[in-house]
Amino acid sequence: MLAFQIMNGLTFAALLFVVASGFTLIFGLLRIVNLAHGALYLFGGYIGFTISKLTGSFLIGGIGAMLCVAIMGLLLDQGLLRFVRGFELRQVMLTLGVAFVLNDLALVMWGGDTFTVATPEWLQGAVVIGSLFYPKFRIFVLVVGILVFISLWLLINKTRLGALIRAGVDDLEMVEACGIDIRRVFLVTFMLGSALAGLGGMLGGTFLALYPSADAEILVFSLAVVIIGGRGSLVGAAIGSLLIGLLNTFGQVWFPQLAYFVIFGPMAVLLAFRPLGLFGKAA
């Protein structure tokens, strides 16, 4: 029983990590609290749903969702956010507005019925380990979450782009002063973060379903993850996701009446002692 609930917590955490890692990348480097991240997640899910339905392939659906949402991120960054660079409040308000517009757009395009992305055949059913009976798809989500973590960790710690991102998080002006075109790094990061939201939407659309306002729910979870983990920290996002995922699961089991408090109560306490989150650094 305990193993079963731990698996539930871990698989939910994996999904949260995929979504929140994109969020924290953008937040850390561009200093944008992208409140449209949830809407990008929702679009990723809807686009993935449509493509996988048309092609019959989950994989193509996933890739399509990531590509399309990355392009949406590109348009958002270059078409809108570029004009308010440096004004934090305006950026937040702008992304909030975009979130509303996208949400309504989704309602017009797909209607308000609840959709689930079809699980591919090879991921249907369950694996039985001892007395534990666990759906294959959720294990798949966990594996994807771990793969995303490893790839992002390698990207950030072992590549030139990663070095630029890290440098940008620490001291933006210095990077620019070194003659690096930071705007291109911004753009790539924004697209990468958006693509992760798209991937999250595809995965979430399979077991959490897609419907109007799903974006706000995942956004709240992502915000909590990033606040706990600290701005721009990959490890922070991973730890934050694990905490929220497990708290969410065990909160529902042990204190069902307090399901939401169990998540946000500890978050408030943590913030009182570490206002920048577990791994956050002062800007």
Binding site: G112, D113, P135, S213
Partner: protein, 421 residues
């Protein structure tokens, strides 16, 4: 969306007109026949239940268009307002419809909190308000408002009781319930739990989860290990989709029979699903898979018009519109005489509804139905629908209890489920 005229000149014009009407009632009656009957329809066209809101409007409009948008020789004008799935917005729009739009009566809403906000408001104005979907028990029980009538609607606990009876007859003795943690859930579960335990069954455990629970796996793990004969799930909207889907993916489908409160397997939920929803048993007064000729015709008409099977929202507003129209026909469109209008609606027996059977309201303004136990099955073309497997005739909101005695017990809540041990 709003068709209300809000510029100052026409506002002046309409207020002056209203003032004149108050001063000269004789003229009002004389002009009555020529002025269209104005209906204010409140529907959540945005927000969490936007899909249901759209179907509500579709059902309502389908009826009025079929009858040429008139009652007798009086034209009918429908003003649609978006309540945004939000009680504040709903109240504000209701006020606007009544005070500026001068509608004759209000119709609609889906979410209980939006409906209660409007009900509280019309308590003061006396505007007739019809609620085919707002199911809060007490609106036609302990805190009844005379001008709020549930035409073609239902109380939350009403249809859950026959399901409990059916479950007991299947030999189920131990049942666990899982429900959304709000009034509608408390009431549907309460109806089931009270009935089932009075028959001698046992409610092993009740789970209450917040609305919009993303992940049901923690609950499913516990449900699987309770050793119950069946599970009763009260879910709506996206929660219903997720619950049913996760119930299947965790292998509970086929192992523990799943029963749903009526909204759990509504078309608005199962329309986008496949195998995972098949076989779930639920209970409602409407079943789109019924062989009743009137139902078959309604479903075919609806499907032709909107390319989908009707949900409870579309059905209820179609029938609700028909109900009020019948009453208006009886009083020759004299909607201005409110006491007469309300009395006539209460006395109207609906004969031609898609249910195919005559439906009456009880003395408290809630319909008495033949209720179907329904099973989700696949139609020949692969679409899922609810097919009746058996029926309970003449089920009232009070089941077989005496209304006065029944209303002495507290309303259902998380703490009071009427469980007899």
């Amino acid at each position: 969306m709003s068709k209300i005229i809000t510029d100052r000149r026409s506002f002046l014009k309409s207020t002056t007109a209203a003032a004149a009407l108050v001063g000269m009632p004789a003229i009002v009656r004389a002009q009555g026949a020529s002025r269209p009957i104005k209906i204010g329809l409140l529907a959540p066209l945005t927000g969490v239940i936007a899909a249901g809101g759209k179907e509500l409007v579709e059902g309502f409009e389908m009826y009025w268009e079929q009858v040429g948008k008139k009652v007798g020789d009086r034209a009918v004008e429908i003003v649609i307002e978006d309540d945004a799935s939000n009680p504040d917005t709903s109240l504000q729009k209701a006020r606007r419809l009544v005070e500026q739009g001068n509608v004759d009566f209000l119709f609609g809403n889906i979410l209980a909190n939006t409906g209660l906000a409007v009900a509280n408001y019309v308590k003061g104005t006396g505007t007739p308000y019809f609620i085919p979907v707002i199911a809060a028990d007490d609106l036609t029980q302990r805190t009844r408002i005379p001008n709020v009538i549930r035409v073609a609607g239902y109380t939350a606990s009403q249809t859950a009781r026959p399901l409990a009876d059916w479950a007991y007859k299947q030999g189920y003795r131990k049942v666990a319930t899982i429900s959304q943690d709000y009034t509608f859930g408390h009431e549907q579960c309460g109806g089931f739990a009270q009935m089932f335990t009075e028959l001698g069954g046992k409610i092993t455990q009740q789970f209450w989860h917040p609305l919009n629970t993303a992940d049901f796996s923690p609950y499913l793990g516990q449900l699987a290990n309770l050793g119950v004969d069946a599970v009763f799930a009260m879910e709506t909207g996206a929660d219903a989709t997720r619950f049913i889907q996760q119930y299947a993916s965790f292998g509970l489908k086929g192992r523990i029979p799943l029963m749903g409160a009526m909204n759990a397997t509504d078309q608005s939920v199962i329309r986008t699903m496949s195998n995972e929803a098949e076989g779930i048993v639920s209970c409602a007064h409407f079943a789109e898979g019924s062989k009743e000729p009137a139902t078959v015709k309604f479903v075919a008409d609806y499907e032709k018009r909107y390319q989908k099977l009707p949900s409870i929202y579309g059905f209820s507003h179609y029938s609700g519109a028909m109900w009020v129209a019948e009453a208006l026909k009886t009083i020759k469109g004299n909607v201005e005489d409110r006491p007469l209008f309300l009395k006539t609606v209460l006395a109207t027996e609906l004969k031609d509804s898609p249910l195919g059977k005559t439906v009456k309201l009880d003395a408290y303004g809630n319909p008495i139905y033949d209720v179907s136990i329904r099973k989700v099955e696949k139609r020949a073309d692969g679409k899922l629908w609810n097919v009746p497997i058996t029926s309970y005739p003449q089920v009232s909101q009070f089941w077989k209890y005496d209304p006065e005695t029944y209303m002495k017990q507290p309303p259902y809540s998380r703490d009071f489920q009427g469980i007899k041990s």
